[in-house]
Structures are given as structure tokens and as C-alpha cells.
């Protein structure tokens, strides 16, 4: 019973547990290369984790907050970053340019959200549309190739552990610290729990929301830059990252209704997704099955976890948010509301 309760307070465990299960299934079916599978998953997951962390921050800001511009940002940042790197000869300049692209698109959404009170979904969709137009015009006759140095770096796997995974793990730790140890992080979580209460408690809500969308845009831009160097820039480089980023956040244990972020859970869910792709490929299922599985999983987790705070309504059976008993444990939990 106690163990069950502990599981409830550590929602990130589910992602890792599911990932481990899928890994075992792969091992059982292919009968070889368990370590290699993990190594491969670790080299693919970080991209999803970076964009997922940004999406997590946005979703943590409370009901209605979602960033659907991440997919077009990734595609656009890929082209811009590769082009910049090719033009300047510096991979760093390329990455900075990619992040800059993400920030620029996020500025458009932020202005629309805060200045024109456009709902976030529409604001980010519209900003994303503009970005995808730019992407399409760039893609026309695009000749530059990704920086070989950066690609080499991204492929580096000393002792089977991809360098990028280590770097992104560090980034994740930074996000954990950001949410726990900084004024911004605490303010974001307060806004997500109860926007009115946060405003009355003196939290500058608009500034927090703006920062959050900008952070999400920048992280998506970073993902695009790295992904383009790793694979190759293409117009639909980011397409799959829209639902995937939302899904890893939801499966990772972050509250959909806001106010509780679980950065570590994003890792577990991302590994799960990557391994699931591997498993589906191994068994020879199509992309159809992948989509069905992912969509079904998101819906399952969503409906099991139950949600928001519509004024009336009965308490949910499978509620995973901390009830009083759980909340006392938060200081030891990995989730950052403690």
C-alpha cells in the first residue's frame, strides 16, 4: 500500500517502467543487443526531451496553455541553423541562429497571447503557420549541408553513452533547479496552480507567461538545430514533434491542468516512445500502428488521470495529483513542486 502511494507521488516512474517493459520485449524478440538498443534509444531520445521540456513549461502554466508552434519551429530552425553554419563556418553560430528563430516565432505568439488576448492555441498555431511558410520558401533549392563537426559530435558515443544524452541530462537537471530554486520557477508553478491566487500573491503573471513561451520557442529552436545536424534539414523535420512533445509531457506525469512539472518524467516517456518505435519497426508494424498506439496511450493516460477543476464534479478514482497524504512527501520526490 505504501509502495503504491509512493508510486502515485512519483509519476515519472511510469514512463521509465513502460520503457523498461518495451526494452524487455525488444530483447525477447530480437534476442540480442540489449545494450545497443539502449544506446540507440539514448541517442534519439534527447531531441524529444529538449522540445518536451519546453512544452512541459508551457503546460505547467495552467489550463489552455499549449505551444503548437514547436513543430514548425523545429523545421525552420533546422534550415536556418544549417544555412548559418554553412555561411559562417561555425556550428555554434548555427545553433545560436536556430535558437534565435525559435525566440522570434515565440515573440509573435507571446505578443498575440498577451497583447491581443488570443488563446494560446490559436496564437501559436498562427505563428507556426508563418514559420512553416518561411520554411517552405527556404527549402526551395536548399543546398547547404550540415556541419560535419557537429554531426560527428552528436554521433559520439563514448562507452556506448551518447554525449548528447549526457548534455541533455544536464539540461534537465538545470530545468529541475530552475523550477525549484529560482523565483521564476516558483512563480510559474504558482501561476499554473491558480492564476488568480498567483496574481493576488504579487506574481507578475504576464511576465511569467511571456518568459515561458519564449523558453519553449528557444528550446524548440535548439532541437531543430541539433536535429538538422544529426539527420538533415527538411520541411517536415518537426512534424512528429507536435503530438510527441505533448504526449511525453502528459505520460511523464506533468499535470495537464498545470501547476506541477515533472522534468524527469519527460525522459522516461521519451525513452518509452523511442523504444516503442523500435519495437513497432522490429515487429514490422506500420506507422499506422505507431500513431494508433501513441494516440491511444495519450487518451488512456488523459482519461485515467482525470483533469481540470471544473467547479462541480466528483473526485476522480484514478487521480494522480497529490492528495494531502501525498503532498507531504514532495521534498523527497523528483517532481519539482516540492
Amino acid at each position: 500500500m505504501n509502495n503504491l502511494r509512493a508510486l502515485g507521488t512519483r509519476p515519472w516512474i511510469w514512463g521509465f517502467a513502460a520503457a523498461a517493459l518495451v526494452w524487455l520485449a525488444i530483447l525477447a524478440i530480437s534476442g540480442q543487443g540489449g545494450g545497443q538498443t539502449v544506446s540507440l534509444a539514448l541517442s534519439l531520445a534527447p531531441y524529444l526531451v529538449i522540445v518536451g521540456l519546453g512544452q512541459m513549461l508551457v503546460i505547467t502554466a495552467g489550463p489552455g496553455n499549449i505551444d503548437v508552434s514547436v513543430a514548425p519551429i523545429i523545421s525552420l530552425a533546422g534550415f536556418v541553423s544549417v544555412a548559418t553554419a554553412a555561411a559562417t563556418g561555425s556550428a555554434t553560430a548555427g545553433i545560436v541562429a536556430g535558437i534565435g528563430v525559435g525566440l522570434a516565432v515565440a515573440v509573435v505568439s507571446t505578443v498575440a497571447i498577451l497583447g491581443l488576448s488570443v488563446p494560446p492555441i490559436i496564437a501559436t498555431l498562427a505563428a507556426g503557420l508563418v514559420a512553416s511558410s518561411v520554411t517552405l520558401s527556404l527549402a526551395d533549392g536548399f543546398a547547404a549541408v550540415p556541419d560535419p563537426g557537429l554531426r560527428h559530435l552528436l554521433n559520439l558515443r563514448p562507452a556506448g553513452v551518447p554525449l548528447l544524452a549526457v548534455a541533455v541530462a544536464a539540461v534537465t537537471a538545470l530545468v529541475v533547479a530552475l523550477l525549484r530554486r529560482t523565483v521564476y520557477g516558483r512563480s510559474l508553478i504558482a501561476v499554473g496552480q491558480n492564476r488568480r491566487a498567483a496574481e493576488r500573491a504579487g506574481v507578475p503573471v504576464a511576465r511569467i507567461i511571456a518568459t515561458t513561451y519564449l523558453a519553449s520557442g528557444a528550446l524548440a529552436g535548439l532541437t531543430g538545430s541539433l536535429l538538422a545536424a544529426y539527420i538533415a534539414p527538411s520541411a517536415d523535420l518537426g512534424t512528429r514533434y507536435l503530438l510527441d512533445s505533448v504526449a511525453v509531457v502528459v505520460i511523464g506525469g506533468t499535470l495537464i491542468s498545470g501547476g506541477r512539472a515533472v522534468p524527469v518524467g519527460v525522459w522516461g516517456a521519451a525513452l518509452f516512445f523511442i523504444l516503442l518505435d523500435g519495437l513497432v519497426n522490429l515487429v514490422g508494424w506500420s506507422t499506422a500502428a505507431q500513431n494508433l498506439l501513441k494516440g491511444g496511450l495519450v487518451l488512456l493516460v488523459l482519461f485515467l488521470a482525470g483533469g481540470g477543476d471544473r467547479a462541480t464534479g466528483t473526485p476522480s478514482l484514478f487521480r494522480r495529483r497529490p492528495r494531502p497524504a501525498a503532498a507531504t512527501l514532495t521534498t523527497t520526490g523528483e517532481n519539482t513542486h516540492g
Binding site: R181, Q193, N194, A197, A311, R321, A327
Partner: protein, 532 residues
């Protein structure tokens, strides 16, 4: 077209006979016996006995938080009572309370904040609430026709058409539609009117009461709730006084004066201790530097309000709920207009804990420190050690049960409120705004918090304190009493007493017809009334 048919014909004859005799023993339409209702730790109703008889107007008066709104909801069958019985037409109906209960179909209520859908037309709103009595086909025309006819009867010259959307109507017109909506049912037994004239003009109010008399002549019972005592006395046959969740007096309206009712309502003179008197006297004397000021502030819900707050002063905002006090606080919290000047940092203590106070996923410590954190942090980084010290200090000072690591939702309302008050005072804010924060808080907690407020004021902080509990206002140095968005009295030192505030806040202001923004702002969410 049976919606506005007059009430059941067979019953009309015997009732008429009774009316001729002026019989005091007419049969009760709704009868409540020993009704109690508790929300969490607040006992809203503590054993109410009340009967409303056919063909009479019963006036119900009581001050903020006396339990009027709860009683109304129980009588209308919207909520079940915890103990006791509610009988409609002699049949015990308390077991089947709920919005779909058939037993309560003849009991209809016009809400003060209206129960209309703003995006729907008048006719559609009538359908929502009276669909049982409308034909299945061509209901729109029938509903519109019924609404128009009823509005014509009640409020000649209303200028409302059935195709108007509610959001396009003025506040007064919305109230008219709400009253008409409530009265439209095939067999009306009891019509409950909750503050019906608050946003109506004098002419509309007069024609409404004419209609009420016509209704009672037909044997319908009417329950009238109003802060306007004189109005109640002139319309009602009997008056029931509600205090602390119980009916403490039931009198015939004839021969009853406004002053008698006010006395019954709880002008029990607050026993101020000698200590407090002395403090108030000394506090009121000196000329303090002004830290915040409203000069002739006018806008939604406010009319030419001037308020001055000195350093180290506790300024009260009193009066009936929703008369502009919160708008004053809002101006001070967001001083964007030119008529408001604020020198210094501010902190806000919200009254509605659940909606705008508690951060539900956090512990006591986290809830407490969220405001002060900004001042303590260096370059955006928190300093846990310093924060911890502040939290421990405040948890100890206010004796918050459960300690700093308890989950906020585990705490009782009173302890939650302590944390939220501590949140504001733990910050370095020079001005603390209190938005009726002690509603439903137990006496011990209140006493602690009153002491805290005086202590902090003595340290030079300014406190602006809106309270719906007039007895609390004795802890202030100066009190502004608001009515219809205007300051109707400024009381200082000795003058501050519950009796005085009640008397002043019920005073009718000349030409109070439209209170404007306060109601308009609330009308959309349509939630339960904020007081009672």
C-alpha cells in the same frame, strides 16, 4: 399557452374566502422545520423554522452572512438540508431536493445575480427554465409571447423584446427578465425574490410590487429578501429576521418601524474594551503621511469616492456587500488611473480563499513564502535558509496547525486563512489590502489575526480592510461606509460601532438606481451568491 395561466383555479375560491376574513391561519405553502446546513466548518443554517403562507408576502431580512442565501436555496429545493424538513404544500419534500425535483416545481426563485445565460435570447432563457410548460413545437414563439406578456404586466415600458440577447440588456432589464423568468411556470406556489430592486429604478420597483400584490391576491406566496428595510416593511405582510443562521423574530409588518427591524437584526452594541478605545483614540489623533489616496474616483461601481490612507493606519471599508468596497481595493492594487495615488509596495489578502488564495498543490511553507520570496531572493535565485527562517517565524507566530510541511488542502479554513494573511504580512509590503478575509473563520483565529493587524500597523504599515462583518470594524482607526459605490459616511475612533455602521449602510441614498459595474462584472459567471 398555459405558462402564464393564473394559479390553479379550484384552490382560488377557498383562498379568496380566507382572504376576506384576513385570516392569519392561511395554509402554509412552504414549511421549514429545524433546518440546518453546514458547509465545511461553517454552519450557515442552525435550525431554521419558517413558514410561508399562501397569499402573503413574507419579508426576510438579515445582515451579511446571516444565512439568507442558503435558506433560499434550501427552500427552492436546489440544495438538501442536513437536518430538518422542508414541506411543500404539506408534503415533505426535503428528501428529493435537487434541481430536477418535481416537488419543488412550483417554488421559483429570482436570483440577485440572475440565473440567465448571457449569450441566449430572452425567449431561449425562458425555455431553459420553463420548458415543462411550453409546447414542444413552436416553443420559441410561445416562450417569447409569455415573456413579453409577463414583462408588460410587471414592468410597463420595459423596452425588452423576446429576441434580445441577455448580454445586450442593461442591468435593470436583466433583473426584469430574471424576475419574469422566475414567475413563468404553470402553477406558481411560491415566488422568491432575492434583492429584486437592487438594480431596478424606482418606477420599475413600484410596478413590480404592484404585481406582487396582484399575485398574492391570487393566492401565490411571495418571499421577499431585501436590504431595503423600508421597502420590505411597505410591501410585506410579515417580516422574519434571520441572524446567525436562525430566524430570531417573526412579526407582522404593520406597526413595525425601520428602527425596530434594525435593532432585531443585530445591533447588539459591540463591547469595545477600554484598551481598544484608548488605542483608537491615540491612533486617530496624529497627522500621518499619506501612503495611498483615492481622489474622486469614478468608474464602474464607484462614484466620486475619496479615500485616504495614512502610514501605520488601519482603514476600514464597511457597508453591505458589493457596494464598491472591492472596487476601491482593486484601484489600490492596480493603481493605473490618475485618480489613484499609491506610495509604496502592496500586498493583497483575498477573501475568496479557494478561488484566489490557496495554491492547492503546495505545502503551508510554500504557500506562505510565495510573496516574500521575491524580496528575499538574490538575482532571481531563492535563498532557502532565509525563507525557512521567515516561514518558521510566521508559522509559530500565528500557530498554524500542522506546521510548515503540512499540505495546504489538509488545513481547516481558518488555518488556511492564517497562511494567506501571513503570506501578505511576511512580505516587505508597506500597504496591506484585506478583502474581507475573515469570512467563515472561527473566533480564535480571528482574534489572533486582529491582534496581528494592530501589531503590524503599530510598526508603521498601512492596512486597508474591507469587511462584511461590521463588528470587525472596531479594530480600525477610520472607517469609510460605502453604499451604491459612494462613501456615505466616514467614521473615526469613538464613532465606529456596529450599530452605527448598520444604520448608515442601510440608509437609502438619493437616486440609487443603477449600481453599475459590480453586478455587471459578476453576472457572467452566475455562481452562487457571494454572501449569506
Amino acid at each position: 399557452m398555459h405558462v402564464d395561466r393564473s394559479p390553479a383555479e379550484p384552490l382560488a375560491a377557498p383562498r379568496g374566502a380566507e382572504a376576506e376574513q384576513g385570516a392569519p391561519d392561511r395554509q402554509p405553502v412552504v414549511l421549514a422545520r429545524g433546518v440546518t446546513k453546514t458547509y465545511g466548518r461553517t454552519r450557515a443554517l442552525a435550525g431554521v423554522d419558517l413558514e410561508v403562507r399562501a397569499g402573503e408576502v413574507l419579508g426576510l431580512v438579515g445582515h451579511n452572512g446571516a444565512g439568507k442565501s442558503t435558506l433560499m436555496r434550501v427552500l427552492a429545493g436546489l440544495e438538501a438540508c442536513d437536518e430538518g424538513t422542508v414541506a411543500v404544500r404539506g408534503r415533505d419534500a426535503s428528501g428529493e431536493a435537487g434541481p430536477r425535483a418535481a416537488a419543488f416545481r412550483g417554488v421559483r426563485m429570482a436570483y440577485q445575480e440572475t440565473s440567465l445565460c448571457p449569450d441566449l435570447t430572452v425567449a431561449e432563457n425562458i425555455w431553459v427554465s420553463s420548458r415543462h410548460c411550453l409546447p414542444r413545437l413552436r416553443w420559441r414563439r410561445a416562450a417569447g409571447e409569455a415573456a413579453r406578456r409577463r414583462l408588460d404586466e410587471m414592468f410597463p415600458g420595459h423596452k425588452v423584446t423576446p429576441r434580445d440577447r441577455i448580454e445586450d440588456l442593461s442591468l435593470a432589464q436583466r433583473q426584469m427578465v430574471e424576475i419574469a423568468r422566475a414567475s413563468l411556470v404553470d402553477r406558481l406556489d411560491l415566488l422568491i425574490l432575492d434583492e429584486p430592486t437592487e438594480s431596478l429604478g424606482p418606477d420599475a420597483a413600484r410596478s413590480l410590487y404592484d404585481y406582487v400584490r396582484a399575485l398574492t391576491a391570487r393566492g401565490v406566496a411571495v418571499l421577499l429578501i431585501s436590504h431595503r428595510i423600508r421597502e420590505v416593511l411597505s410591501v410585506a405582510d410579515r417580516v422574519a429576521v434571520l441572524r446567525d443562521g436562525a430566524v430570531i423574530a417573526e412579526r407582522p409588518a404593520a406597526g413595525l418601524g425601520e428602527h425596530d427591524v434594525l435593532t432585531l437584526m443585530g445591533a447588539q452594541v459591540a463591547a469595545r474594551t477600554e484598551d481598544e478605545r484608548v488605542r483608537a483614540a491615540t491612533a486617530g489623533s496624529g497627522d500621518r503621511p499619506v501612503t495611498a489616496e483615492l481622489r474622486g474616483a469614478t468608474g464602474p461601481g464607484l462614484r466620486d469616492v475619496s479615500v485616504r490612507v495614512g502610514a501605520g493606519e488601519v482603514v476600514g471599508l464597511a457597508g453591505l456587500a458589493g457596494q464598491g468596497q472591492q472596487e476601491v481595493l482593486e484601484r489600490l492594487w492596480h493603481p493605473v488611473r490618475r485618480d489613484t495615488r499609491v506610495h509604496g509596495t502592496r500586498a493583497y489578502v483575498p477573501g475568496d480563499r479557494q478561488r484566489s488564495g490557496v495554491l492547492p498543490l503546495w505545502t503551508v511553507a510554500e504557500n506562505l513564502i510565495v510573496t516574500a520570496m521575491r524580496g528575499i531572493a538574490r538575482r532571481g535565485l531563492r535563498r532557502p535558509a532565509e525563507e525557512g527562517a521567515v516561514v518558521r517565524d510566521w508559522v509559530e507566530r500565528l500557530a498554524v496547525r500542522g506546521g510548515p510541511d503540512a499540505a495546504m488542502t489538509e488545513l481547516s479554513g481558518g488555518n488556511q486563512q492564517k497562511v494567506i494573511v501571513a503570506r501578505a504580512f511576511a512580505s516587505a509590503a508597506e500597504i496591506v489590502l484585506l478583502d474581507d478575509p475573515f469570512r467563515g473563520v472561527d473566533v480564535h483565529t480571528k482574534t489572533d489575526l486582529y491582534r496581528l493587524i494592530r501589531q503590524e500597523a503599530a510598526r508603521g504599515r498601512s492596512v486597508v480592510w474591507y469587511s462584511s462583518e461590521n463588528a470587525e470594524m472596531v479594530h480600525c482607526d477610520r472607517v469609510y461606509v460605502l453604499r451604491a459605490g459612494q462613501v456615505v459616511a466616514e467614521l473615526t475612533g469613538e464613532e465606529i460601532s456596529e450599530e452605527r455602521i448598520i444604520a448608515v449602510s442601510f440608509a437609502e441614498v438619493g437616486g440609487v438606481t443603477e449600481t453599475g459595474g459590480a453586478g455587471a462584472a459578476r453576472s457572467r459567471d452566475g455562481g452562487v451568491p457571494s454572501h449569506g
